[in-house]
């Protein structure tokens, strides 16, 4: 859908270039946010929602925006769109300052905001696509084939002539996305795009987002609480907390930078006394016991290098027969919790040791006979 695909072909660019101006030709980033701050309210009760945030998003990339509730993600997106006016700072879209020429910038941007319908439920799916393509500045007849392909890829073809109100929640969500993509914006903001989707629909949507970025050069800024969506789709992750950016890197770099020397040991011989001994000598991250006394207890211990040998010696001295052992592979959510101290879905602070083992996967090192 993105018109940047057209830039790879011969022929005039009737729309984008004329409206957006020199920025596109000079290779400006898709989005450039510089020193944006936004405070809501006045006096003691005011809230600094976005605090001096700077961010650059290159064309054709998919950037994930992560943060607990109240971190400032949605406000930042709305500032970038001009739906919320920032107190300070500037936002440039393909080189065009949103403050100076908002409408020119809008020609290449669209957004799907969390909680919004985004489209008209009384119109059919195809009527919505045509309407919002026009509103976005594109003659709908000229993108009819593209709309067909979009409907096909989002598995909406059969419902193309059905009023949106008659569709399931998941389908409505996909129509909302389709209507955002219908106008061929080159930069789209998607706030929780997989919310309400079943597993299959979520997979379809992720596949389509990757394809749009790869094949058509669409730039996507995606906010989600669903870490798997972010890990699966995004080239880069920007984490926010308290209105500030606390991390900005690729998923791989963020994962490798975190503590990797955590091992999980499981044994039925691990009792309270053993755990107490381990706590004295090592950094015990988590302890998990089964419901029955005879079940194996697993402990997660930060033990890299020589500490791993010390751990083994300690376990042998305590008469523990190791039943299972493996390194704990950190997930994005662990990185998130480490950096923000909060759960991605909520605003609460994580208590010490509450980074439960349900969020981690174990890579088996070996299994005792």
């Amino acid at each position: 859908m993105a018109r940047s695909a057209a830039s790879e072909r011969d022929g005039p660019r009737e729309r984008g270039d004329a409206r957006v101006g020199d920025g596109r030709a000079s290779g400006d980033p898709a989005l450039s946010i510089e020193g944006v701050s936004k405070r809501f309210g006045k006096g003691e009760e005011s809230v600094l929602a976005v605090d001096d945030v700077s961010l650059t998003v290159e064309r054709g990339s998919i950037v994930g925006l992560l943060g607990p509730n109240g971190a400032g993600k949605t406000t930042l997106i709305k500032c970038a769109l001009g739906i919320v006016l920032a107190d300070t700072g500037s936002v440039r879209v393909f080189g065009t300052d949103v403050g100076d020429g908002r409408r020119a910038a809008y020609a290449n941007v669209d957004a799907m905001l969390e909680g919004a319908r985004n489209d008209y439920w009384r119109l059919t799916v195809r009527e919505n696509l045509r309407y919002f393509a026009t509103i976005a500045g594109v003659d709908p007849d000229s993108v009819r084939a593209r709309h067909d392909r979009l409907l096909d890829r989002l598995e909406l073809t059969e419902k193309a002539d059905t009023p949106v109100r008659e569709l399931s929640r998941g389908m409505k969500q996909k129509v909302s996305l389709a209507s955002v993509l219908a106008g061929g914006a080159e930069l789209v903001f998607l706030d929780e795009p997989t919310l309400g989707l079943d597993v299959e629909s979520s997979r379809t949507l992720r596949r389509e987002l990757r394809r749009l970025a790869r094949e058509e050069g669409l730039t996507i800024v995606l906010s989600s609480h669903d870490m798997s969506v972010i890990e699966d789709v995004c080239d880069r992750v920007v984490m926010m907390a308290d209105g500030r950016i606390v991390a900005d890197d690729t998923v791989a770099a963020l994962l490798s930078a975190t503590e990797r020397d955590v091992v999980r040991v499981a044994s039925a011989d691990i009792d309270d006394a053993v755990v107490a001994t381990l706590r004295k000598r090592f950094d015990v991250r988590a302890v998990e016991s089964g419901p029955d006394a005879t079940d194996a207890t697993s402990v997660e211990v930060a033990a890299g290098g020589d500490a791993l040998y010390d751990l083994m010696d300690t376990l042998r001295e305590a008469g523990v027969t190791v039943e299972d052992i493996g390194t704990v592979r950190p997930e994005l959510e662990d990185v998130f919790v480490d950096l923000t101290g909060m759960e991605p879905g909520g605003g609460g602070t994580i208590e010490d040791g509450a980074t439960g083992s349900d969020r981690t996967e174990t890579e088996p090192l070996g299994r005792s006979p």
């Binding site: 009737e14 905001l113 919002f132």
Partner: protein
């Protein structure tokens, strides 16, 4: 309706470079496409969900029935003597209420649906979209009010001059001022959602404006509806044609319409701007 975006032009089929891209290359939408899209959407909703329009007609006729039969019981001949004027006034009131409430409640609904932002962030700018939506609402209101008028004339056996070349422009300009009030109310609704509901009560104030004593108090001609209402009475009751009105009357009708429409739009513009500053636009 300024627009700092150059209205784009469609691809020229005579140009080989353009025709090569006609199949799949996005072409810019012009104001024609915008008008077609907005009006077609209104049409679709009107024909697909006729219950809303029919409901409005039934309610309007019910109130007129109460007014007519109740008034005849209480006032007898006095009502019959002024019946033509009452029918014209009621017709204009249904037009006004239709235009006002459709614009203000439409803005309220669009805020709820999250579609208002998409109209504000359009490269066309919100003004042309809003104006086209307003025109669509007026056209739709004319259709339903025409039905109400026809039934009123049939029930009461009254005859009025119904020259469309006179009635449509005079009534249309008269309610254009109300469209402005609708935009202003819509803007206030964006900012203060609860107050918006109370603003619906304004439509009962239209009765006062429609029956304003423009002869005794000429300044009331500058209020919305008042001057247009007086002209519509002369047109429909006395049979005065559009070109028989004085230039001053016609000029004032136009000025009041444009003035209130622009004023309403300015209020809407600043209200949405303030909403953007406060962060309440798109606050679902």
């Amino acid at each position: 309706m300024s627009n700092d975006v150059e209205p784009a032009t469609a691809a020229d089929p005579a140009n080989p470079a353009d025709s090569a891209t006609l199949d799949d290359e996005p072409r810019p939408a012009t104001y024609y496409h915008l008008a077609r899209a907005v009006l077609y959407r209104e049409y679709l909703i009107f024909v697909r969900y006729p219950a809303n329009a029919i409901g409005g007609i039934v309610v309007a006729l019910f109130f007129f029935g109460v007014l007519f039969y109740g008034g005849r019981l209480l006032a007898g001949q006095a009502l019959t003597d002024s019946l033509s004027g009452i029918i014209v006034g009621y017709f204009l009131w249904t037009l006004s209420v239709g235009a006002y409430s459709s614009v203000s409640s439409d803005i309220g609904s669009e805020v709820q649906w999250g579609t208002l932002e998409r109209h504000i962030t359009t490269p066309f700018g919100f003004a042309p979209v809003a104006l086209l939506k307003g025109i669509a609402k007026v056209v739709r209101t004319f259709l339903t009010s025409a039905v109400v008028l026809a039934v009123m004339l049939l029930v009461t056996g009254t005859r009025l001059s119904l020259d469309p070349l006179t009635v449509v422009p005079v009534a249309g300009l008269a309610i254009t001022s109300v469209l402005g009030l609708g935009f202003a109310a819509g803007g206030v609704t964006v900012l203060y959602k609860r107050i918006g509901n109370w603003l619906n009560l304004l439509q009962f104030g239209f009765i006062v404006l429609i029956s304003a004593p423009v002869l005794d108090a000429p300044w009331t001609r500058f209020l919305p509806l008042a001057h247009g209402s007086a002209m519509l009475q002369r047109a429909m009751v006395d049979g005065v044609r559009l070109w028989e009105f004085g230039l001053v009357d016609l000029g004032l009708l136009l000025a009041v319409a444009v003035g209130y429409l622009l004023g309403g739009y300015v209020v809407f513009h600043y209200a949405t701007r303030r909403a953007r500053r406060l962060g309440v636009l798109g606050d679902y």
